[in-house]
Symmetry: C2
Subunit: 131 residues, 2 copies
């Protein structure tokens, strides 16, 4: 298997990482995710890493890059399902995961995305009713 | 990696199969799926096989079994993302996939499940308004 499937659920792309990702696969994921965002106009990306037992600094940087690239393409990225030991490693290694939002599981990630994507529109409609 | 992650999205469980599943893994999946349905009270199961290049008769039977077990536990199963060549193999091998619903992708699978789960309730409310 040379590619991680990207599932589309409404306007959210969902990726479940099931194998301990090596560097080339992480870069391939970064490419295919950004392409799928551009193709589908998705507004959110959820990366599930509940099966991932180890995140090193390279993979951490790939996640941060995916989040930055997605944001330029107008999509928010949420990392979900992180194991406690992975969280410990990330802090102990001093990795920042800059710009990457996290949630406990896919359900909470979807709720977070719904909130993030809803709020600007709500503010707009609020302005309309006031004027 | 000895287990396939099962994601919960609302009242639906989502499994993405990314590796060519061997027999023991298929049986493990069957066990963990039925357990998760019982634990979570999920009403639907979506199995994404877009990354699966080959389905043999054993795996086909496991899918049919998962669907039958889920139904007893009050959940519908939808197989999504089947590759055309897999569909060809299934027909040519004379496999039946009895009781397994299919959809083109996760979005359509979710829509199918929403329809399936909604209709009995709608009929009930319809009866109520008539009486």
């Amino acid at each position: 298997m040379d590619q991680i499937p990207i599932l589309k659920i409404g306007n959210v792309l969902l990726v479940t990482i099931q194998i301990d990702i090596h560097d080339r696969l992480a870069l391939a994921l970064q490419d295919s995710l950004t392409n799928r965002i551009a193709q589908t106009g998705a507004r959110g990306v959820i990366i599930d890493i509940s099966a991932v037992e180890m995140v090193d600094s390279f993979i951490g940087r790939v996640f941060a890059n995916v989040a930055a690239m997605s944001r330029i393409l107008d999509a928010e990225t949420v990392l979900v399902g992180m194991r406690p030991e992975v969280a410990i490693t990330i802090v102990e290694l001093g990795m920042s995961l800059h710009g990457v939002r996290t949630a406990l599981n896919v359900d909470k990630g979807l709720a977070l995305l719904a909130d993030l994507l809803k709020s600007p529109i709500e503010e707009e409609t609020h302005d309309l009713t006031e004027s």
